[in-house]
């Protein structure tokens, strides 16, 4: 597990190449960007964690409404505080990379949209999701009747087994039919 923060060893580099969808250059760039986020005394530390607050200052995430969810989903922290190690960071970039498969992308998208982490998108999740999409400005935000109608429509369209929630396979079913998803679910460093 030799992730010394200062230098990536050759073995771990090739290991990361094998385990993620990233190329060598991308991993090195990710490493550079990650060490920039670390504080000085952490730079020599193995498995240093960057807290969520600092991760979301990255320009790639800064204005994304899902930034906190993204940190939360990819974090392996035991305190569930959304802090990322370098490997978690690689995970994030791998899922959002060009060559990641639709399956992996839709899996992580599902987990990002599943705000309460209960394994299924229920009404509350969908409401939060729509609110994140439309932002907080008043003219873009949906009224409560519109929201209700939207959610009932979504459930009608995608909830195949009619249990009132959208589970992972139903979500992937919808996503597989929307061709723009793969090209838009990308973050490039």
């Amino acid at each position: 597990m030799g992730t010394t923060a200062s230098q990536l060893s050759k073995e771990s580099l090739s290991e990361y190449q094998e385990l993620t969808f990233l190329t060598k250059q991308e991993i090195l760039l990710a490493h550079k960007r990650f060490t920039e986020l670390l504080e000085k005394h952490e730079k020599e530390q193995i498995d240093a964690r960057v807290p969520k607050g600092r991760i979301i200052t990255l320009p790639e995430l800064k204005s994304n409404p899902f930034k906190e969810r993204i940190c939360q989903v990819f974090s392996t922290s035991e305190q569930k505080d959304g802090s990322l190690t370098f490997e978690d960071f690689l995970d994030l970039l791998s899922a959002f990379s060009d060559s990641a498969t639709l399956e992996i992308k839709s899996h992580y998208a599902f987990r990002i949209f599943d705000f309460d982490d209960d394994g299924t998108l229920d009404c509350a999740d969908l409401e939060k999701l729509v609110n994140c999409l439309t932002g907080e400005t008043n003219d873009a935000k949906l009224s409560s009747t519109e929201m209700k109608q939207l959610i009932s429509n979504i459930l009608e369209e995608s909830d195949i087994d009619k249990d009132g929630t959208v589970n992972l396979s139903e979500f992937q079913h919808v996503i597989s039919r929307s061709p723009d998803f793969v090209s838009s679910f990308k973050i490039v460093l």
Binding site: M1, S14, Y16, Q17, E18, L19, T23, K24, I46, S63, N64, P65, T76, E78, E87, D88, D91, S94, T101, E103, I104, H107, A109, D116, D117, D118, G119, T120, D122, C123, A124, L126, E127, V130, L133, T134, G135, D139, A140, K141, L142, L150, S152, N153, I154, E157, I160, D161, K162, D163, G164, L168, S169, V174, R177, S178, D180, S183, F185, V188
Partner: protein
């Protein structure tokens, strides 16, 4: 179970221990839950016993099985889902508030917490959050893959699926290899897979890198153990090393390819600001650059280089500067144009080409290493077109498959909500615009849904039809007018050239400059008419923006194709047959020069368009009109301009093999100019833009009218137009196509034993029957494919019905569970009240 799993694994020391702790710690948190579950379980047993007394034995048995099944599942997933139960319980309440009951049949009634617990631990819900569930899912996947690869797995690797069906549960019993944990099975499966599959599997698992690393290490350890046990033979050890080396070189090759991709940062900036729509224009431009690079590599290697090594003669015309514009003058007798290429066999020194044909000339010593220029010219152009066509059709079918999945249903709202967010957009202002857009789009879609059935009145419809009719009439009339104008203008130019030819006292520079008039006129039309179409488009109202976009594309396409049609007629029908009357020795050179001029003019007008249409218009609207909005980048029109330029380049390859270079240079410049113009002058588009569908359409347009039209023209030229008699590789032949036949005849004369080959050539190449057979087979394949798709569609609808039935079953079972539970509670209460009364 996970606890056992963690213990049974040979854990490497060090930081990995923290991982295992993280697996264990939730167990401690949720010690209470399994006991709870047991309680529910027992109570149910009791109740079921009561119930079966009432005569519902069969359903009770089912319930019992279901219960134990669910129990098993939930215990499986308990260690990780434990803390979420509390959460879930709270969640349940908010669900009810949000649903209002009528649309959520399962959660519609007030469930007890126990039922909710069972609901939340159903496999379909754990798979989205639980590591154990993911591992078991991938365990099954690897097993399937192994079966497909036919490396026979040992019997104990076969496991019940991760979602045990109710029926098979009782038969298999509960003791299905409980001691072999799922993860170990996964490691086993992975280890038995070939290396490439294993890497692919590991990469595709939605687990964190640390976990994947762990699994990979376990697999490696196991493999090492097996390898050392087996005492590898030298050969297989060598194989092992070769595999490792090949993999390493593959990775470095991949990263090399990655570093080759130009414009990464620029593209990122564009996508960060404008999203996928504008990005697709630049990606399309990049694809075109690759096509041209390919074309140039082919023509450069097989035509330009051999000819440049053996220059036939040196022509010394002084360079005047106008050549850059007209392509004539001192450029005329160079490798740039068809006329320069020799019609004889080049003596070979360095290269060896001509396909497999050269192998058959071995008998005659003089031709042993020879290069037959006419043949090379013919086959190079033919193959270049053929390969381009194959690449295009392939990418077209791929994007088609991606953007039009079978069994499309109209779930626009869902797709919009789940996949409309463009994660690439990172600029704050653009993010704001995007979320506003999404908000308005959702509102519009919802409004459309509610008032879908409001019928517009007859009068309104009539008015709309009238407007459309007028708009189309204007567009078609203006296009036809321009066509006629270009037709007569080209005729006039032709006549003028004929007269000038007789009149010897004309300044040659003036003559060359006059040649620029036709390209200028066509480019002006190409610039102005789309603006007119836009104006007309404002007049109309369309229901959906996509229809609007398609109509605009259709009109522009009509214009460009008719222009190119007229020009092709002018060159092939007017210039080619009577080239001597306008004083040309080589009409192919003339056409090549014309195409060069057209390409250049197209570029210049793109520049002007960018300058006036985007930069000055922005300044005008900002300074004079005091509007805050910047113009929006018109993706469709710009892409059509690119397609037009590419058609010109493809048309010109036959007459000027170096034309792809000109096109590459042009595309590079256009890329940087458009990039800076977009960054400076434009704002993020307000309309929704379906990038992938548009990409499909653009690729299709590049294939069907563009490449197809160009290849039809080129084929027509090769088959039935007589080439110039005093220049070019085909100067002595009736048509270019005769080159192959001519060569065959020579071959037969030299070597009578090869007459079979020549006969075969006559029989296969010149007989149209085989063309028909080929086309017929192609059609049959397409037909079968469409039939297969049809069958799949039927199966999909059947499966959908089945899923719905399963959902009903689930609902039914949960309802039963709940009612039984309620009965038990009531019974308990009654007992209690009886106790208290006693």
């Amino acid at each position: 179970m996970v606890q056992e799993e963690a213990r049974s694994l040979p854990l490497p020391p060090g930081p990995l221990m923290t991982k295992s702790e993280s697996v264990l710690s939730p167990v401690r948190l949720s010690v209470r839950s399994p006991a709870d579950e047991e309680g529910v379980h027992d109570s149910f047993q009791q109740l079921i016993a009561e119930h079966s007394d009432n005569g519902a034995a069969s359903s009770a048995l089912e319930l019992q099985q279901l219960q134990s099944d669910l129990d098993e599942e939930s215990r499986d997933n308990m260690p990780l889902s434990g803390p979420e139960h509390e959460h879930r319980r709270r969640q349940g309440a908010s669900d009810l508030e949000c649903d209002g009951g009528e649309m959520d049949p399962i959660q519609g009634e007030g469930w007890s917490s126990d039922t909710l617990k069972i609901l939340s631990s159903m496999p379909s819900r754990t798979i989205g959050r639980n590591r154990g569930a993911i591992i078991s899912q991938y365990c099954n996947k690897t097993l399937k893959l192994r079966r497909r690869r036919q490396t026979r797995p040992s019997i104990r690797d076969f496991s019940p699926s991760s979602r045990p069906s109710i029926r098979s549960y009782g038969m298999e019993g509960d003791t299905t290899d409980a001691e072999v944990s799922k993860r170990e099975r996964l490691v086993n499966n992975l280890q038995n897979l070939p290396v490439s599959d294993r890497v692919r599997m590991l990469r595709g698992m939605p687990l964190s890198v640390a976990e994947k690393k762990e699994i990979r290490n376990l697999v490696m350890q196991k493999e090492k153990r097996i390898l050392s046990n087996k005492k590898l033979s030298c050969c297989s050890q060598l194989k092992y090393y070769i595999i490792i080396a090949a993999r390493k070189s593959w990775y470095s090759w991949l990263s090399f390819l990655h570093s080759l991709q130009p414009w990464q940062t620029l593209l990122k900036r564009v996508s960060g600001r404008f999203g996928t729509g504008v990005l697709s224009y630049f990606l399309f431009l990049k694809t075109l650059v690759f096509f041209n690079v390919f074309l140039f590599l082919v023509t450069g290697a097989f035509l330009v280089l051999p000819q440049a090594v053996h220059p036939p003669y040196r022509d010394t015309t002084s360079f005047s500067g106008l050549e850059l514009l007209t392509g004539a003058g001192s450029f005329s007798h160079t490798v740039m144009y068809y006329g320069y290429y020799a019609n004889y066999t080049l003596p070979r020194r360095s290269r060896d080409e001509g396909g497999g044909q050269n192998a058959s000339t071995l008998t005659s010593d003089s031709q042993q290493f020879s290069y037959n220029m006419p043949l090379a010219y013919f086959f190079t152009i033919g193959m270049a077109f053929f390969i381009t066509c194959i690449i295009l059709v392939y990418s077209m079918s791929k994007t088609f498959g991606r953007s039009f999945r079978i069994n499309k249903s109209n779930s626009i709202l869902t797709m919009k909500t789940f996949s409309c967010w463009d994660f690439k957009v990172i600029k704050k202002k653009s993010v704001q615009i995007m979320s506003e857009n999404i908000g308005t789009q959702l509102k519009e879609l919802l409004a459309e849904l509610t008032q879908k059935h409001t019928k517009s009145t007859f009068c309104k419809r009539f008015c709309r039809l009238m407007v459309h009719g007028v708009a189309w009439t204007i567009c078609i009339a203006s296009t036809t007018g321009c066509m006629a104008g270009v037709y007569y203008f080209s005729e006039f130019i032709h006549k003028d050239l004929q007269q000038n030819h007789r009149n010897l006292y004309v300044n040659p520079l003036m003559k060359e400059a006059k040649l620029l008039s036709l390209p200028t006129v066509v480019s002006v039309i190409n610039l102005l008419l789309p603006a007119l179409f836009n104006l007309v488009g404002w007049m109309e109202t369309y229901e959906s923006p996509s229809v609007f976009a398609y109509v605009a594309i259709g009109r522009n396409l009509m214009l460009k194709m008719s222009m190119l049609g007229i020009l092709c007629f002018h060159w092939l029908g007017r210039v080619a047959p009577e080239y001597k009357s306008i004083g040309l020795t080589c009409w192919e050179d003339f056409v090549g020069q014309e195409l060069y001029r057209f390409l250049l003019m197209d570029f210049i007008f793109t520049l002007l368009d960018t300058l006036f249409g985007e930069l000055l218009w922005r300044l005008f609207s900002e300074k004079v009109l005091k509007r805050k909005r910047k113009p929006v980048f018109d993706i469709a029109r710009n892409v059509l301009d690119l397609i037009y330029g590419q058609t010109l380049a493809w048309l010109g390859v036959l007459f000027s093999p170096v034309l792809p270079v000109v096109q590459i240079l042009k595309l590079f410049l256009v890329f940087y100019i458009k990039m800076s113009s977009v960054m400076l002058n434009c704002q993020a588009p307000r309309k929704p833009y379906r990038a992938s569908q548009m990409t499909t359409i653009f690729i299709t347009l590049l294939c069907i009218p563009s490449l197809l039209g160009a290849s039809v023209c080129v084929t027509y030229t090769m088959w039935s137009i007589t080439p110039s008699t005093s220049c070019g590789p085909f100067r002595t032949l009736d048509t270019m196509f005769k080159a192959g036949k001519h060569w065959m005849e020579i071959l037969e004369k030299d070597n009578p034993s090869l007459s079979v080959l020549s006969k075969a050539h006559t029989y296969f190449v010149e007989n149209p029957f085989f063309l028909f057979v080929g086309a017929g087979i192609f059609l049959i394949v397409i037909y079968f494919h469409s039939q297969v798709v049809d069958g799949q569609r039927k199966i999909i609808s059947l499966l959908q019905d089945q899923i719905q039935n399963e959902g009903e079953d689930k609902k039914f079972l949960i309802n039963r569970l709940q009612s039984v539970h309620k009965q038990k509670q009531d019974a308990g209460k009654r007992l209690k009240s009886q106790d208290s009364t006693c």
